[in-house]
Amino acid sequence: MPDIGRDEVKATLAAMDIAISDDDATAVSRILAEILADMRKLDELASEEGEPSPGFAVEVRR
């Protein structure tokens, strides 16, 4: 997945009625890139089973 740049951050948030400064958009682009880079290690697990858990809490409350 390519990095999400400053202008794309601004455009995406504008579609949610959120106006964001250039400085903030640059920071968000950088933070998002770091998070998504870290998440690439999760792709190693693509072949493993792991059902989305709608509520682990449901499990622990049983």
């Binding site: 933070i31 998504l36 697990l45 792991g50 809490a57 622990v60 409350r61």
Partner: protein, 476 residues
């Protein structure tokens, strides 16, 4: 009793002395207020001190004792809470400017239960803004500092609670924990912090961060005090849809049991991680101590926990941004820049990655549940490092630079993903005098078991006898 000694009492000790008419609630409240006046200008543990109201509550508590009224388990005991629990008529900011005028007209579940138990409230405690961070570098109410070394952070997000309890500015506190925010500052400040099972303590009236990972929990100077606070706070609340209907056991009863034959699991993946050498030595010594008390240690495997931080971050940011979306549209400039940009990032999270994180969460839950089939509790460091410096961005571990934020929460957050109970108990100090915490985690609703293990450890070690200002006196 010397007023300084009153502030240093445990909650148990103070409650017993008050019941026996050997300590006045006014005396112990005044002792705490003196400590606050003496130290809080530097530590910035409090957002607001409600001195007048605290003394009025203490006087009422004193009169109740003299009348021979029935007394609750915390009667006259002065506490201070993280600034995130709704308290009728008291400003509740969640460490933000945005909520600086938020004065609830009701008591949330935590305050309601503490009030009914007789607690006296001294004020509200500093925290990372909206609980979204682990340092308590608060841009609105000041940089929280660690009483053991004021150049170090107290941890977060409940950093004010950690510092206030450690510095004897209150006898106990309640914090919130979505990724480690009770246990982490407890470890860094040398106190006990308990995150119970998800749903054990009602979140009604607690300002949310992450709806599927938010927990409230006791922060105290002893394990017995953590059990006492949990006893007061635990229980079903129909106003919180996640609140558990399970019966609440007697936690104090668990403290009387020995741990001979209890199986403690050492997650091998945790110990294979980069850990500060002094933290590793202290935790291994603590494990030996538990074995000497009769616990049986065995290695267990939780292979997917190494993926937990990468799954946790998109989940917590997505959930937090959902909570804040309305204000991000209309009042974004009132947030500090760090938290505002993290919340914006949550809104930008690709759905595919969110779903992937949920799938990994399921694997982490499964690993932990499987490990706990074979042992009664899991034992490991609470935090990989002792308290870092104020403003420090990275730390050297095993010869490589590691981001401080990542180093702080990686051992605590798996138990938020899984909703499992976990406690941090002091297990030593670095050569420079910084506290180290031992984390003990258990199966769903096995709070009694982890309290039992923590109490056995604490009872045979003397870490809780140290306090930060004694150490200063020795050094200087």
């Amino acid at each position: 009793m010397n007023p300084k000694e009153a502030a240093g009492l445990t909650m148990h000790e103070a409650a017993e002395l008050i019941r026996g008419k050997r300590l006045s609630p006014v005396e112990v409240a005044r002792a705490c207020l003196e400590r606050i006046a003496q130290h809080d200008g530097r530590l910035r543990a409090f957002i607001m001190v409600t001195e007048e109201s605290a003394l009025a509550q203490a006087r009422e508590a004193e009169q109740a004792v003299m009348r021979g009224d029935p007394l609750g388990p915390l009667h006259g005991v002065p506490l201070a809470l993280k600034d995130t629990f709704a308290m009728r008529g008291v400003r509740t900011t969640c460490g933000s400017k945005l909520l600086e005028n938020n004065i609830p007209d009701f008591d949330g579940a935590v305050v309601d239960r503490l009030r009914k138990a007789g607690a006296v409230f001294l004020g509200t405690l500093n925290m990372h803004e909206f609980a979204l961070g682990a340092t308590t570098a608060n841009p609105h109410y000041g940089m929280g500092r660690n009483p053991w070394d004021e150049g170090k952070i107290p941890g977060g997000s409940s950093g004010g609670s950690g510092a206030a309890v450690a510095a004897s500015m209150c006898l106990g506190s309640v914090g919130t924990d979505a990724g480690g925010s009770v246990r982490l500052p407890s470890s860094l400040c040398g106190i006990v912090g308990l995150k119970p099972t998800y749903g054990r303590i009602s979140n009604f009236g607690t300002l949310p961060l992450s709806l599927t990972m938010d927990h409230s929990g006791p922060m105290t100077r002893s394990v017995a005090d953590a059990a006492l606070l949990l006893q007061v706070l635990a229980g079903h609340d129909p106003r919180d849809p996640a609140s558990s209907p399970l019966k609440v056991p007697s936690y104090s009863k668990a403290l009387t049991k020995r741990i001979k034959g209890i199986k403690i699991g050492l997650p091998k993946e945790y110990f294979a991680e980069s850990i500060d050498p002094e933290v590793r030595v202290a935790v291994m010594a603590a494990i030996e101590s538990l074995e000497a008390l009769g616990a049986i240690a065995q290695e267990v495997s939780v292979p997917h926990c190494r993926y937990a931080p990468a799954a946790f971050v998109p989940l917590v940011l997505s959930e937090a941004s959902a909570v804040h979306a309305r204000y991000l549209r209309t009042r974004a400039r009132e947030y500090g820049s760090e938290v505002r940009n993290l919340l914006y990032t949550g809104l930008m999270m690709p759905a595919r990655r969110y779903v992937q994180a949920q799938r990994v969460r399921a694997l982490v839950v499964r690993d932990l549940a499987a490990a706990l089939q074979h042992v009664d509790s899991l034992v490991m460091p609470t935090v990989t490092i002792p308290a870092p410096g104020v403003g420090q961005q990275s730390v050297n571990l095993d010869g490589r630079n590691v981001n401080v934020a990542a180093a702080l929460a990686r051992f605590t957050l798996p138990f938020n993903l899984a909703g499992l109970p976990a406690i941090s108990v002091p297990c030593g100090f670095t050569a420079s005098g910084l506290p180290i915490g031992l984390q003990i985690a258990g199966a769903p609703f096995a709070e009694s078991t982890i309290l039992q293990v923590a109490h056995a450890y604490e009872s045979h070690n003397r870490w809780k006898e140290r306090n930060p200002f004694q150490q200063s006196a020795e050094v200087h």
